[in-house]
Each structure stands twice: as C-alpha cells, then as structure tokens.
C-alpha cells in the first residue's frame, strides 16, 4: 500500500474530541461562566466598587467587553485547569482504560506520533476553552452592557476593535500559560490506565501550585511554579503593551513542556501496554 495521510490522525483526534459529549459539556460550562458574571452584575442594584470581587469586575457595567476579561480572571484558577486536567489527563490513560490504546499501537500508530497528536489536540482544547470564555464574555457583555471605547489600566482609551484585538492576545496568553500544565497532564496520563486518576492528579497539582504561589515563606519557589504567570495578562491592558510577562511565561511554560514532554516520551515509548 502507498504511504498516505500524515495529518489524518490529528484531524481524527480533533473531530473525535470536539464531537464528544464530554468535551461539549466542558466547553458549555466554561461558556456559562461569563454569562453568570454578567447576569449577576446586571441584576445587582448597587454598583460594584473598585477592588470588590474579581479584577475588572467594577468596569463591567461601564463596558461590556470587560465581561470577557473578568470571566478569564475567574476561570483561570479552577475552571480552566479543571477542564484541561480532564482532557490532558485522559489523553493516554483514557485510551488505555478503553483498551483502544493497544489497537492504535498495533495499527500501527507509532508511539511518538500518538503522543505528539495527543499533545497537539490538548493544546487545541486549551485554545478552544480560552476562546470560548472570551467570546462568550464578549457576546453576553455586548448584549447586557454598553460597548464603547475601552479605558486601559494605563489610563488611555482604545477603540472597541482595538480592545477585541487585545482580548484575542489575552486568550493567546492564557493558552500559552496552560501549556506547562498540559504537558504535565500528558505525562501523568502515561502513568496509569485509570483516566479519572490522571485527571484528578493534574487538577490537584494545579491547585497545589497556586497555593504554594500564595505562601510568601516559599517565595523562592514562586518563579518556578507553572501557575506563577497565569494572571500576568494585565500587560495587555496597558499602552503600550508590555511583553515582559509574556516572555517570562513563555520561557517558564517551554521549560515545563520540555521537561514533562521528555518524561512522557521516555515513559510512553518504553511502557508495556497491558490493558
């Protein structure tokens, strides 16, 4: 037979993942977060004071676009890690649990190829999850609140179009921030045949990382935590945009991807598949 079809597996993986009811449920929950925030602000009689609630919440009633940003702030500590923990923790362990892993391997899929496809599809899910929160926030914000020029943290104002561009950058930043966790999830997923275990482990790690990040006594470890730059996207709300957080974050996440990618590789390419 002729050689054929290099990217077919990634397409198959993406179609399978995004058609799956569980994926749709996760994305629906994420889409509901900004709706919840916007409706709560809309229904409340008193104005939100600056400093109350999550960052940017006080700006929502003046400009609907801030619903998107507030929703991202709210989703980052728990909802996004939860969703990504489910998807990344399931990558290999899910196939092992179903027994489909052995049939993929004897197809033969190639262990490295499968790992790469799983990592790529998890990243696609991170992007989708982030974009869903941002887009859902922008839409519900535009419906419930006025949309006009946006006042940045640095005091200058930009057009709604410019603000949307910045929102896209923020979504990209959040996706980038989640890469390290995705790589950890991929590695943990090669360790077990019980997907729920892998998912739980990834979520626990994400929470532990954030807890450590909030304890001043271990400040030396903070710059090394994969969640350390998760909320660093305020840089995109300044004029001119500062890229220092992005650079730090990119370096940090790439480090995690390199280390846990290598661990996942060495584990998965030598693993006995007995499920």
């Amino acid at each position: 037979m002729s050689r054929a079809d290099g990217g077919g597996l990634l397409v198959s993986e993406l179609v399978t993942m995004f058609r799956r009811r569980r994926t749709i449920a996760l994305l629906s929950v994420l889409a509901a977060v900004p709706v919840l925030i916007a409706v709560a602000v809309k229904l409340s009689t008193s104005d939100v004071q600056p400093g109350d609630g999550p960052a940017f919440l006080d700006r929502v009633s003046q400009n609907g676009l801030f619903v998107a940003v507030t929703a991202l702030v709210v989703s980052i500590p728990l909802f996004l890690p939860l969703a990504i923990g489910v998807v990344a923790g399931d990558t290999i362990a899910g196939e092992a649990g179903l027994g489909t892993l052995r049939y993929l391997l004897i197809a033969p899929v190639g262990r490295v190829r499968l790992l790469l496809v799983k990592f790529a599809s998890s990243i696609a899910f991170c992007l989708a999850a982030t974009v869903v929160v941002a887009v859902s926030g922008a839409i519900i914000g535009a419906i419930l609140f006025p949309v006009g020029r946006v006042t940045l943290l640095s005091g200058s104002t930009v057009s709604p179009g410019n603000a949307l561009g910045r929102a896209a950058l923020i979504a990209g930043y959040v996706t980038l921030s989640l890469l390290g966790m995705t790589a950890i999830g991929l590695f943990v997923s090669t360790l077990t045949e019980v997907p729920v275990g892998a998912m739980a482990a990834v979520v626990v790690l994400a929470i532990a990382s954030q807890i450590l990040d909030s304890i001043p006594q271990v400040s030396w470890i903070h710059p090394w935590l994969f969640s350390h730059e998760w909320l660093g996207f305020a840089d995109f709300m300044r004029d001119p945009i500062s890229w220092t957080s992005t650079q730090r974050d990119a370096l940090l996440q790439l480090g995690y991807v390199a280390v846990f990618g290598a661990l996942a590789y060495s584990r998965f390419t030598t693993k006995d598949v007995l499920s």
Partner: protein
C-alpha cells in the same frame, strides 16, 4: 533467518515481577498455516501475543514477525498484521464504522482514498453492515467481537493474530468465525488463533502449539500431535471400581472414570478408560471377565486430541487458571 516463518520466537520470556507468564518459548509458525495456539486460561497466550505485537517488551529472547525483528521494526511490519488481542476495544461513543475509520487512520500505510470502501467491506465480511451507524455503546458482546474481527480485516493482511476470537459468540457466530478463518487461509493469509477451547479451533488448524504454565509443551502439525497420542482401552461396565482395580493390576497407566456427558444409558453403566501401554485388548478383556467385572462393551481408540491436551497441560481446557 527464514522468511518462510510468519512468527518465530526464540527463548521468549516475559516476567511480571518474579512470575514468568511466558517462560522461554520457541514458537514456529509457518507461513500459510492456520496455527492453533492452545492452552488453559492463564497459561500465557495473551501475554505471548502482546510481546509478539510489540505491546509489551520481552524480558528475554527475541521475536521475528514476518521475517522482521520486533519490536525494533514494528512500523515496517505491523501494518501487514491484523490482530484481535484480549477481546475487542472501541470508543463507545462512536459508531462501529467511525471506530474502524479511526483505527484505519492510525495505520499510516492505509490509503485514505479507499478507507470508506474498506471499512464497508470489513463490516460486510463480519455481517455488521446493518449496525455500521450505531454507536458501539449499543452493541452486544457478540457484535463487538465481530467488529473487532472487522478491525483486523481493514486492510489486506499477511498475518492475522486472533486471540480467543470466538469469545462471546453463540454457536452460530462461532461457526461463522471458523468459516471466515478458512476463507482467509484459503486466500493465503497466515492465521494465528489462540483458544482455551480445543474444539473451537481443532477443525480449522493445520498446526498447533500447546501452552501450559507459560511453557510451550508441544508444537507441530495437527497430524504429528495426533500421532503422539497413545492407544487407549475403553470399556463400558456396570462395575467401574472393580474394573479400574483390575486394569491397575494389569499395569495400565492413567486409568480414568470418564464423565458420562452425552451418553444416554448412564443409569447403571460407566465408561472407564486406560492407556493400553502395550497390553493386548483381548488379554485385558479376559482379565476383566475373570475378575467378575460385568462388561457391556470394550474397544480401543487412539485417544482424542482432547486427551492428549489434557495429558500435556494437566488440566481440562475450560478450567479457569
């Protein structure tokens, strides 16, 4: 190294901790054969298959698959091998056809343009065309088993490895699988089929290997194995205990009271058998009658394959290990 062999293992060992599930086996599976890989549950058949297919690494020894070293050259050979290992496995939320398409996509050598047609053909071969669009979640055990066989038939294969392919199938399904294996073998495909039920594969095999406790205790053509069985004396009698005593006295080994399964007149008569061990059956008859054993029938046969397997493995074939 011979390329005339579809599977060849040399001193293959697979240990789980200290326990050797596969304990130094030398499989020789000729091309074009239908090889019955027999053994009780837990004797190491599935583990052997996993190592042959590169799912698990060998603790010692080597494997050649279609003349190619495994697992080193897995990607160059596995696409020519269709397999069912330890039962079928699918994505329950996908349809039968979508599951097959996914497995086919995983095979880099499978051309995309013929995928739909090959999936349809494989489904048709196992009689599942009507359920192609149904989610596998809604499949019965037998349907899943058929779909697993269809997955093994997605592309033209040189070798099929079928681990207990008739599990979960009714007698009709079992017959269909046998017919399918026959027709594939007629096309020149080598078939390596494992089973803990001798009767299910005996009729289709040209070769057999018998596993017991991780060891390959016998291997060869079916006829060779038949030739190894020793002639047995079988008597139908009303006094089984006395008969066995007499036969023991004559020095016949392996004296057994056979189960009464399938014989209608079992109310008072029993079947006793023993290895003739060179004693003439007429002499045994005289001795029995002289001792007052009431004999209804006496004959000899060469022992069924089942007998020889029981002798080789030390247990019945449907005994859970």
């Amino acid at each position: 190294m011979s390329t005339e062999l579809a599977i060849e293992t040399t001193g293959l060992v697979k240990r789980f901790g200290h326990h050797a599930a596969v304990d130094g086996i030398d499989l020789v599976v000729p091309r074009g054969s239908v090889y019955g890989f027999l053994g009780p549950n837990g004797s190491g058949k599935t583990t052997t298959i996993r190592v042959i297919l590169g799912l698990a690494s060998a603790s010692a020894g080597s494997v050649r698959l279609l003349g190619t070293a495994m697992p080193h050259d897995a990607r160059n050979v596995l696409w020519r091998v269709g397999a069912l290992v330890e039962g079928p496995a699918f994505y329950p939320y996908l349809s039968g056809a979508a599951n097959l398409r996914r497995y086919d996509t995983a095979n880099r050598q499978a051309p995309k343009d013929t995928r739909i047609a090959r999936v349809d053909f494989a489904l048709e071969r196992v009689g599942l065309s009507h359920a192609a669009g149904k989610r596998v979640r809604a499949y019965s055990l037998g349907m899943k088993q058929r779909l697993g066989i269809a997955a093994a038939l997605l592309a033209p294969r040189d070798l099929l490895v079928l681990d207990e392919p008739t599990n979960g199938l009714d007698p009709q399904g079992t017959r269909e699988v046998r017919a399918l294996v026959r027709s594939l073998a007629a096309d020149g495909t080598t078939v390596f089929v494992s089973s803990h039920l001798l009767a299910e594969v005996e009729q289709i095999c040209t070769h057999v290997g018998v596993m017991s406790n991780g060891r390959l205790v016998s291997q060869g053509t079916l006829d060779t194995l038949r030739g190894q069985t020793r002639p047995r004396l079988r008597i139908e009698t009303l006094d089984p205990a006395k008969a066995m005593k007499v036969l023991d006295g004559l020095g016949l080994p392996d004296t057994r009271l056979e189960s009464a399964d399938g014989r209608p007149d079992t109310a008072d008569s029993h079947l006793v058998s023993a290895d003739l061990n060179g004693v003439a059956p007429e002499d045994a008859c005289v001795a029995l009658v002289a001792a007052g054993v009431r004999v209804r029938g006496l004959y000899t046969d060469h022992g069924s394959l089942e007998d020889s397997f029981v002798a080789l493995t030390g247990e019945g074939f449907d005994v859970a290990g």
